[in-house]
Each structure stands twice: as structure tokens, then as C-alpha cells.
Symmetry: C2
Subunit: 382 residues, 2 copies
């Protein structure tokens, strides 16, 4: 059964049939009332998900393009930027700021750890930054950061808080306005269950005042240009129409489920996956208090290459986990339970993992991980 | 029949069923052998379409992002740029170059005219430019420019020739290498029959030498970053996987038809549309020698608002033409015969136009335009 595949990477995530069907509808022009109505509906529902009244721009590129839009529109050469780094994507954000000539103060909290608020407080009181860069959910390590806590600190300063919510938003709650997030960036291919190709960027009033006067070159990623078209529910440049249709359908699913239920589902899947991993005697990378609800990073047993486990999973069982990135390559594997994922996906992941461990000769107690996950789903030990 | 719609705008163009089906396949990871194999196949077929041996980068954004990639990677503040402008998209290219601080020499040949080679020759001999910007097919006016002629002139100088082939490539022949095109930019939603969201950028050896040392900030649109991943048939950032699958299927259709047949089909549709317009007593915007094979711009009869005709077409017959842009708004309408278009599409366009003209009280001889198109399809007068 080559076609029976189980994609469990933290993006792109599986596409629900209703989303695939919406993307297959005949093409429509993007300067039409039909497109404008869809665009308006998408933005209004994204405002519910983001918990914001801010403008939200849906731009046609992947998440990194959204991160660059946030930087290009707020950072000019010489500006002081504080980058809070907890892994690969935090490093990328700092790198983009440097590309735009920023003087970047990069604080690395270590891969597998979350941002320490005490350090942030010290940094903010000792320096005057124009922009603070943070990652909500660090995809590379399965760590979630305390954006509420960071936002409470940054909100007391003139600095803008820019948050990479690419892999978090849609699976982990975000309160954009209450948490003082000035620019929130996310993308279509994670919690939103749509193929890659759309970034979403929400911009606060505090941010607009910086954006309007920023000196860096920007055309395709220009937020003022996006804003001008947005007033008429238009986009500045040709949008990825089929992906918009997919996002429209996905948001309808999310509204029908209710965002509280969406978040509770992700937390449940996370709890089951973590319980199963512990039952198998393996170590989790992220501590309990910083555990991402959407992706679980697991350390490979001593002497076992994580990528060997992944090869067996893919070849024998059609299950795809993500590997480690950067300094964690070969040392961890990552199980996504993100977007269009439910209880049985965790069962599949864990049972396949048990069999793969057995195949490579690691002494795993077959069924013990599955049982631990089942117990979580049933609401306690049985 | 609200659902029976005929989209005849110059992008996005109708999506063939085989392309829609390919885009509906289950999502795959983008760091996989399956994706790499698809990526390689796409690039090799694009090299056939572009008639080039150059590297071709498929980047996830719309065509304007591709235009900006060409500029951001070659233009630094103060550089001299010659912009050959024949309409809205030529103006956009010049505007992007100015955003990157270029000293732009913008030559406007007038909307509806093509680039005059004599003027280009004079400009090139009197100035030393780093970059020359040209538009192959000016979508806003239905004019095709002589890229072979421009390339022969620019190729004798140190300047790079950057061509916006967004609405042309795939419908009008381009010989990238023979014509000295250093950077060719095109996009998915025109001749390639795929929804918007992908830009394709081909880069010559002459261009690479400039790209590597360019000083403008670029991250998501960085060609050196794209090149590094491309060596492993990877992409620098998450690609729009479903659109890649669509492009793969569309290229298979184009290869099966044969590019010579694709170009002959577009020329035939253009000839039929123009003959029909003339038979109806309406005026064409572009002269015969600069007629775009993919989109025909028609002047509205004196005293008739082109957008009124378009409203009737859409409302009564489900047919969508494009309107005029910029200074031509309300003065012209544009009929695309681009991508997934065949003889009957021209018959539909012209017969609907005849009825719309009759409806608004313009004395059109019903059937006379259709007859003229039929005669072209039958290979001469009957």
C-alpha cells in the first residue's frame, strides 16, 4: 500500500477533503466581488483565531516571506533589535533582521528550552530596542514560549513585539491584542490545514506608526501597499486564489469545531503523545511546562540515529516523522499532531514507533506506548 | 446557470481538470525524495519551455515577487537602470527598481505601442546601464515586444537584460539563451494554467556574477539562497507543494501537446479574435505587428463605457473579460486566449460580445464576428 501514507511532520500538514475540494473549484478572477467577499470572510475569521481587531494581511508566499515582511517594514539599518532565540526558527528571525542591517542583540536560551522572562526583563531595562523578535512555537524543538509574559514586558516599552506564530497559531491559543503582539506572522500549512503558500500578518496601530516611515526597500512585501488594497478587500498583487479558497474552507471547519475545542484537542494529543513516549522509556526534549501542543520532539535512544528510526517508519509503515534540524540532526525525531489530526493519528504514530524500535533492535515493550496514549484518551488510568 | 462561467482574463486563467486533480493529491513533505524528483522534473521541462540551460528557480509568490527577486538580486542604490515601458507592468518594473534606489531611465513608448529598437540602440550607445528591464507581453495593452531584437542590442553591452515574461511565457515563444535574456521571470497563473502562487526565475551566468555581489537586502527572495538548496533539488523555504504538483501536471500537458503546437494554437486564437473584432467594426488597441498571441485588447466604441459591456457579459452570459488598467480604464476591454484555451473559447467570447453590444444598443451585426472567427479556424474565407 504505497498510497496509504501518514504525514506527521510540523508542516505541511495533511489537507482535509473539504479543503482539497474547495481548492479544486474553478478559478475566479481576483479583482471580483466574489474574491472580495471570500477575502473579507477569511480576514474576519482570522481575527477570531488571532483574538485581534488588527488588520490581517494574507500574502502569497511561505511563512519566511511573512517573517521578512515584518522585518522589512519595521527595521532600518542600524536599528537595535532584541532576538529571543530558542531554536532554528528563532535564529532565522535574527538572521533576517541582520540582512536588513539591524544591530541584533541575539539571546540564545538553548535548543529545547523556552525563553526565560527574567532575562527578557533585564535586557529590556538595560537597553532601548526598536523591535523584539520572538517565536511562539519553536518548531525545531517542540517548545512553546510564553508570549503573554514576553508581551507584558515589551508592552511597557516603546519597542514593537513581532511574533513568529507560524507553527503555533491555529493549534495553540494566541491573544494578539491582550498580549501586546504588534505584528503576528503565521502561515497556511500548519494549524490551518492548507497547503503552503500563504502567510498571514496582523499589524497593530503601534506598529503602523513605525511601518509607515521605515526606510528599508520593500515592494512585494510592502505593508502600506497591502493596506491600500485591503481597504477594498483586494490584494496588492495577484493572490494564490486556490489557496485562499482552501483557507476559507479550513476556517469554516475551525469555526464549526470552535477554537476552544481546537486548542483542547491539540493539548489532548500532546498529552497522549508525551505519555506514550515516557511509557516507552524514551526522553522528551522539551520540559513539561514548555511542551508544544502541536509537535513533540523525542530524543533518540543512546547509540541510535534518529534518522534510522525515521527511515524504517517511512519504508515499512508509511509514517513520516520530522527529523532534527541544525545541532539536533540525527539526535531527535519530531511527531507532529498539528492541524487535521485526531486521536487515531497519535495511536498510529506510537504503534509505528514501537514497531520501528523493535525492528532496529531497541528493546521496546510493544503496545506499552499505545496503552499509555489510550489511557490519556479515556481520561485517566484504567 | 450561475455555475457555468467563462473566465477570459489574462490571469488567473482556467485550470485544466488534470491540474486540479494533481493539486488535490495528499500533501507530501517538501524535504523528501518525492518532492525532489518532482522539482527536478519541473525544472527540466521549464528549461524546454524557456529554451535555456540556465538554472530556473520556482519561488512561492506571485509574479511581482519574481520581478522583485530579479531587481533585489541585481540592483543596488545608485545603479543605472534602463526601463523600457509599454504599459502598466513596465511601469511596475521601473517602480520596483526605484524602490531599490536605482537611478532609473524610464522610456515610455506609449500604451498600445511596442518598444522601438532604434530608441533602445540610441539609449544603449549614449549610456552605460547595469540593468535593462523589458516586458515580453504587456498584459495591460495586449502588446508583445521584440525580445529577440532588444536582446541582440543589450547582449553587446555589459548590461543585464531582465525580462518580465509573466503573461507571455508558455503562450508566446521565448528563446532565453539565444536572445540574451539574463533573468527571465514568469508565473504560474497565465500560460502555465496553474493557479497563482508560483514565480519562475531563470538566471544566466552573466547575471550570477552581479547577483553574488549585490548589496540590497534580500532573504526570502535571495537567489544565492535559492541556488544553494537547488543543488539538492530542494527549495530555500517551504514551497507551495500543491501548486508544484499542479505545475508538474500542466507541464506534462504542454510537453504532450508540443511547444510548437502550443504557440501555433495561441496565434490561431489571436488571429480569430482579431478578425472577429474587426468584422464587428471595433478597433484593436495593438497594431498587427505587435499583437499579443495571448490577449487581445479592444477599444470600446465611442460613447460606450467598456466596463458597461463587461457587466452585461458577466451578468447575462457568465463571460468575464478584463477591463482596462491605468489610463485605459473604461476605454478598452481585454479578451484573454491564454493557457487552457481553444477555438470554442473564442467563439464563446465573440458571440457573447455580439449579444452584449446588442443589449446596450450598439448596432452590431449578430453572427458576423463569429463568422469571421470561423473562417480563420477553417483556414480562409468560405
Amino acid at each position: 500500500m504505497q498510497d496509504k501514507q501518514y504525514l506527521m511532520i510540523p508542516g505541511p500538514t495533511p489537507v482535509p477533503p473539504a479543503v482539497a475540494a474547495a481548492m479544486s473549484r474553478p478559478m475566479i478572477g481576483h479583482r471580483t466581488d466574489d474574491f472580495a467577499a471570500m477575502h473579507k470572510r477569511i480576514v474576519e475569521r482570522l481575527q477570531v483565531v488571532f483574538q485581534t481587531k488588527n488588520d490581517i494581511f494574507v500574502i502569497t508566499n511561505s511563512g519566511t516571506g511573512g517573517m521578512e515582511a515584518a522585518v522589512a517594514n519595521t527595521v532600518s539599518p542600524g536599528d537595535r533589535v532584541l532576538a529571543l532565540v530558542t531554536g532554528n526558527f528563532g535564529e532565522r528571525f535574527a538572521k533576517i533582521a541582520r540582512e536588513y542591517g539591524a544591530d541584533v542583540d541575539e539571546v540564545n536560551f538553548g535548543w529545547g528550552n523556552c525563553v526565560d522572562l527574567k532575562t527578557v526583563e533585564e535586557k529590556l531595562s538595560a537597553n532601548r530596542y526598536k523591535v523584539v523578535l520572538a517565536t511562539q512555537n519553536e518548531t525545531s524543538t517542540g517548545v512553546i514560549n510564553d508570549i503573554a509574559g514576553i508581551g507584558a514586558l515589551v508592552g511597557k516599552t516603546p519597542a514593537l513585539l513581532i511574533v513568529d506564530g507560524i507553527s503555533g497559531v491555529g493549534g495553540a491559543e494566541i491573544k494578539t491584542d491582550e498580549w501586546n503582539v504588534d505584528i503576528l506572522v503565521t502561515a497556511s500549512q500548519k494549524g490551518f490545514m492548507v497547503p503552503p503558500g500563504l502567510a498571514m500578518v496582523a499589524v497593530s496601530q503601534k506598529a503602523w506608526e513605525v511601518v509607515r516611515d521605515n526606510k528599508s526597500p520593500r515592494f512585494y512585501l510592502s505593508l502600506p501597499a497591502a493596506k491600500k488594497s485591503y481597504e477594498k478587500w483586494n490584494t496588492a498583487y495577484t493572490p494564490a486564489v486556490s489557496l485562499f479558497a482552501g483557507l476559507d474552507a479550513a476556517l469554516e471547519m475551525m469555526m464549526a469545531e470552535g477554537m476552544d475545542n481546537v486548542y483542547a484537542r491539540h493539548k489532548l494529543l500532546c498529552g497522549a503523545a508525551r505519555a506514550a513516549v515516557r511509557a516507552l522509556g524514551l526522553d522528551l526534549l522539551a520540559p513539561e511546562e514548555a511542551a508544544s501542543p502541536v509537535v513533540t520532539a523525542v530524543k533518540s535512544p543512546a547509540g541510535v540515529d534518529a534518522d534510522e528510526i525515521r527511515k524504517v517508519l517511512k519504508k515499512e509503515f508509511g509514517v513520516t516523522f520530522a527529523g532534527g534540524q541544525g545541532i539536533l540532526k540525527g539526535k531527535i525525531f519530531r511527531i507532529a499532531h498539528m492541524g487535521f489530526a485526531d486521536k487515531m493519528d497519535v495511536i498510529i504514530a506510537i504503534s509505528a514507533l514501537e514497531m520501528a524500535l523493535a525492528r532496529i533492535g531497541y528493546p521496546a515493550d510493544l503496545g506499552s506506548g499505545v496503552r499509555a496514549a489510550q489511557q490519556v484518551f479515556l481520561g485517566g488510568k484504567r
